[in-house]
Symmetry: C2
């Protein structure tokens, strides 16, 4: 009999649902919009419906061994989603409890960046590693830090907010209400902000000068680097420098075997990756020189499902 874990990844727009075995083979996956239901209870009922539908499609004998959920502002300790700015349900939601109505299997929740780290450990490039960091580069910057083979949750379950270390106290406004957080520079939105700062500072020609702020994306910047657009190249260089410095700092604090880069922004090609590697070593304390590997996530397109389902395997083995 095959053992399968359910993985649910709750994003601001869509929720991915899948069934995955211990090796990372995805047996089924689907996706529903996250925010059509006013009551979170109705949303959980929809998820239950999707899981039941999924179970019927699987053409083999299987046992459902647990449910893993990745969600913004999720707390592993308490099973809650707390004041998630990108979800419509406000306050503190006892999310795993809502699921217990439907399933009598272990249910785990963690935030999306932690889920990415767990997915990397269970199925990906961090198999067998005991100390590593995953940095997720999307709209914002998230991180999952693994210490002694376990996610670093800290006292209250919210550790790993590398995106909110302050890199410039007089720097850019952050959605968190403060100034100069790392994610205001190193993220897809950070790249867009840096493009406009660079366009303002430089007087070099650039195809990016024709694009308004509302239409600029990190993907367009990445494409422009392929044509050696000087503004695009300078933007990627600045982004990479700040990320490289942050990786040197997190290495001084946690000494990981590897740092994995994950998410949309990492798909902008070698130019970002190579520059991050350069600035990481340029800023590294000498005892850590050339010790910490910089790697790309190996989770691929199913990463959301893999991260959340991986949580089940990392908790109950199998």
């Amino acid at each position: 009999m095959i053992k399968l874990a359910v993985g649910i990844d709750i994003g601001g727009t869509n929720t991915a649902i899948g069934l995955v075995d211990r090796s990372g083979k995805v047996f089924y996956q689907t996706s529903i919009p996250s925010q059509t239901r006013e009551n979170v209870e109705d949303y959980v009922f929809d998820l239950y419906g999707e899981i039941e539908k999924a179970k019927k499609t699987i053409d083999a004998e299987f046992e459902l061994i647990g449910i893993g959920i990745g969600a913004p502002n999720a707390n592993y300790y308490t099973g809650t989603i707390e004041e998630a700015p990108n979800l419509r349900w406000k306050g503190i939601i006892h999310f795993t409890k809502l699921f217990e109505k439907y399933y009598d299997v272990p249910i785990f929740i963690t935030n999306d960046a932690n889920a990415a780290a767990i997915g990397e450990m269970v199925y990906g490039g961090a198999k067998g590693m005991k100390n590593f960091v995953v940095i997720t580069l999307g709209t914002g910057l998230g991180s999952g830090i693994v210490v002694n083979g376990k996610l670093l949750y800290g006292h209250d379950g919210f550790a790993g907010e590398l995106g909110h270390i302050i890199v410039d106290a007089n720097g850019r406004k952050c959605n968190c209400g403060r100034n100069g957080c790392l994610e205001t520079y190193v993220s897809a939105t950070g790249v867009v902000r840096t493009v406009f700062e660079t366009l303002a500072y430089s007087n070099e020609p650039s195809e990016l000068r024709g694009i308004p702020f509302t239409e600029m994306t990190s993907k367009r910047v990445a494409e422009a680097t392929k044509e050696n657009d000087p503004i695009a190249l300078e933007t990627i260089k600045k982004t990479a420098r700040m990320l490289g410095e942050a990786i040197a700092d997190i290495t001084a604090i946690t000494s990981p075997e590897a740092v994995f880069l994950f998410g949309g922004l990492t798909k902008s090609g070698r130019v970002l990756f190579d520059q991050v590697q350069y600035y990481k070593e340029k800023n590294m304390l000498s005892i850590f020189s050339n010790k910490t590997k910089l790697l790309s996530s190996q989770l691929g397109d199913d990463s959301a499902i893999l991260g959340s389902s991986g949580l089940v395997w990392s908790e109950i083995g199998g």
Copy 2:
């Protein structure tokens, strides 16, 4: 029969040696100069002599259950002291192995800031805490980070170098060869540097204007704050601001229950402590607001012996 652990704290100038029971009661302590012996083997022989002397003075039946050593650049995993800049023995020294010649009990080594964290956990204010940080403020800035009840050593044993996160890439020269490390600002030497920067910038009168760089100490600055010397107050404020910002950052990363301040600089009175508390909260990401306690170390004058002997109890219980 009383169980006792040996604690050895190796500093650049002196080495403290003591025998301590599980409760933190110091049964004997002494100190020898650290750097009189050209060969490290002779130095270890001297330490052996001191321990044997100590054993004879104890007027009770006891069992020696282990030896704990705190030393600069010590590596817990390998039992080595590696390229310690303040010690005369260069290269990689297999320090615990040298001790095994004399004693058939478990021998552990860790760096001095980690030892301070362990001492706090075993005997001090962190008893029962599973996630906390100790920041040692002396000539430099060290840190010991405890995660899930265990020291965070990282992949190679050297994690916890909070003093070497870079707070200003164009900032002060650091002994590590880089620029702008936290400890160039937040440490006894950092305070002295800040005094002179403040004297240069300001034109306010100050008793500190009469003291040359070579004679300035953080203690004199602390004393001047008691007379409301404006330069001294501004210096402490700047130092506290940078430490408060760093504590907000380390909280975002590791979410500790408490941050303990330890070492000479913390003896400069409430003014530093209160300002650190202020800037910590001013810079804190909202989900961590007023969650992480700022505390003073409770180890007192025997801290060096307590930290190193505590390592034994934390490893083998008792």
